[in-house]
Symmetry: D3
Subunit: 181 residues, 6 copies
């Protein structure tokens, strides 16, 4: 059977009815990267404090954006989020944000995790823009890329494998950013 867009019902966008779905534990983890200049990365790595400032602000932005998802993505349901974790991985040219969202609800939380990742990366951009800008005020190097859902689970119980304890998580997704079909 062919798949259909569930948000579109005979020509009308709607919020899909999930009334009959069960309230079960659900988890989604998403990840994305911001590409930055070496100078910015060096500055962030240099000082514990500055790093704290940029990433702490991005972390708060991510948690708030997870909760604000139904305002940002019009057809998303308001889901009672029960937990959010945000982690960062600092590479040579990139900072990656990983956001894990949990709920006990009627529908998955991958859009919430993706929204959290986007807000974290946008906030990093905003915090470092004075260093990333060239003389014309433009951004020759800066970009956001590779925003993906890493995993999604549902069930009666689930074990939270914490991002920081699992360094190889996104290897499979990160080899190339070209889609493989």
């Amino acid at each position: 059977m062919e798949k259909q867009f569930t948000h579109i019902d005979e020509d009308r966008v709607h919020m899909v009815d999930v009334s009959e779905k069960d309230d079960v534990p659900r988890l989604a983890r998403a990840r994305g990267e911001i590409v930055l200049s070496e100078e910015t990365i060096r500055k962030i790595k240099a000082g514990n404090v500055e790093k704290g400032n940029v990433l702490a602000t991005a972390r708060v932005a991510a948690v708030l954006a997870v909760k604000k998802t139904p305002e940002i993505i019009p057809m998303c349901h308001l889901i009672p989020i029960t937990g959010v974790d945000v982690d960062f991985e600092i590479g040579n040219w990139t900072i990656a944000a990983v956001v894990e969202v949990r709920t006990v609800g009627k529908t998955g939380v991958e859009m919430e995790a993706l929204t959290g990742v986007s807000a974290a990366l946008l906030t990093i951009w905003d915090m470092v823009k004075s260093v990333e800008k060239d003389e014309s005020g433009n951004y020759p190097n800066t970009s956001i890329r590779n925003i993906r859902v890493l995993e999604k689970h549902k069930g009666k119980h689930f074990v939270t494998i914490h991002p920081t304890e699992n360094e190889s998580i996104d290897v499979d997704f990160d080899v190339t950013d070209k889609p493989d079909y």
Copy 2:
């Protein structure tokens, strides 16, 4: 002289003081892509109506997100946005969103344009997720990539070159998504 993070003043994150900057016309355009399955792209291209539905919803989401930027990115100023245009380019594996934001204000609107692009792409993802998901509910192909600022201007007067009239705009940015430093 070495560049500094303007949002961080001796260890404290703050909202940069722009009181003394002039209210001048400013414009920023940003662009990003969502990578989708061929089936999704085909469905979106097939029907005028469905296409209208997915992209019309994403367009509204982008305009609302542009206005909501100071809530999503913590250190952003509340800027009186005077105009927003959102356009889409449908490729074989991607849909690109281009958002142009204008203001007459004290600081640039690139974060607003980037936030609009992010909201548009997240909304497309949400609208097509029933087709993109595999049997386990995961997204093997879907990703958001290549979010960049295309251009930024300020001045007393500026000419609005409209996205749809300028098909070659983002060629330079799109050849590769590897940063070239």
Copy 3:
């Protein structure tokens, strides 16, 4: 026994305590009309695309407003909305918006449906205001009217009778769509 205003308890406005009410499926449908000039209606009917644009934007506005109801109506509870449908009926002088809201919650969702209808009609007004305005910038013909709750149900299970499949729903309310000025 005389009825009392439940939101007013001995001289103090409050949010009524629903802690002891059951989480059951609930549905409400509301409807309202905007009276427009014949020129506006003709333009909307003429082009599939323009119609799509005006009404698609109003539909998204309605879904978002349904979710935002507890911010707009101060004493409303935050109810976990499980589904929203928005439909439009184009008459000769009017466009009607019908919004159906579902939840599994502790209290009814008629205020959510009414708020969705109001947002849809206000958005239509905003989208067509350049055609509706006279030379002085005023609106001699435009008005919003007839906002009502069509039906409200609760129970363990309910059958969703979809607006578009039920053409006679609002006969009583719709005897004429000619405004009486």
Copy 4:
């Protein structure tokens, strides 16, 4: 010349560019009515306190909704509102809300005034719903109607004619407050 929908530019909804418009004083006044049962009106008239409660809550809701207009109506600009007045007229079967909005800005504030009126009337409905509902939980009499823009002005200076000092303002709209069903 034929009028065009300014929010729709060749098939794309957008936020109209007002960058080149002047910041001038602007005023808009809108009015609408809620039709209620005689019992509700009697209760509201009876007690000074209860009247205060219902209408004071609706007044606050209106002012907040005026400020929230660009979130509720997607293509609306964020306008720096400089003043809001909300007044009520209690008839035999209706309560009318009149909202006057002022700004010094680049575009008119009639959508803000209309949104304020809508929020005031929805809030009244919510406050009195325990009295308006019949045994099935439905609303046989309640409706919102006659939402209109009363007047709109712009200029270098304007005289604020205060609603309460000008009893004949809405004569044309108020010939009867009896609903015609």
Copy 5:
């Protein structure tokens, strides 16, 4: 065993996972005071109507802020609030706000009650600022103080002891505002 900050997990702020906690009835009551000039208190006491205006506005602000808590306090969960009561006590130099919040949820609602109290007191300040200000526009006397959690309960059932029926509630907290360590 030493207590730990639950919102901080090995150097990372996060939203604490409450997935496994039960949905049980919970109640919290908080209280705080605003210190005002005698002239302001006298004016508020003098007229029934003015008192109604200042305090009715503060009451609405409190209820809305209770619902907005997860937006204001970044790591707070979105809890389905089932009831809110706001009461005021007018002293000689102070007005106290008491906010009681109920839920059937997975975590306590003391932050919601405290946020409601804060919003009520800030709104009173805003409403009376023309009287409180000295000639330089400053506030020599005005302050907010003594914001505390009065009580917190959880259980299968709880009896709501209404603030107004229990005049001695906050005696213990009010004797001194010096902390007793």
Copy 6:
């Protein structure tokens, strides 16, 4: 002449009309304290990282709340905030938050500064609540106190005296929290 409540005009709450006021630079600084247990203060002082986490989160909350003031305090105008600084002073039993807000606008920003202080202190409370709670889940020691406007200025130009460079700022306000009339 007797002072009047400007937000109340003959029995009706309204948003004061500031259309005719000039857009001039304005600054307000407010300060408040949260009283905490010695154990909490010790933990916050102990680790650079934890301190960063609690206070960095409170700082972000304050900046966001400053921008959200017109949503929290109903009659506040939406003012284009041009800068925000948040600082903390850690005492033996207290943490003080100082928030400085700047604008070029038509009305003062003291309510914004006070709202930022309140949000910072509430966020600190939320972050440390696991340590502050006793076995019954209550807070025997925790309170918020002494929220005041430290200074307010307007003019064509102003010198920003930065909180951290001026350690004696609030001596006068802190000797006692009893009002001195």
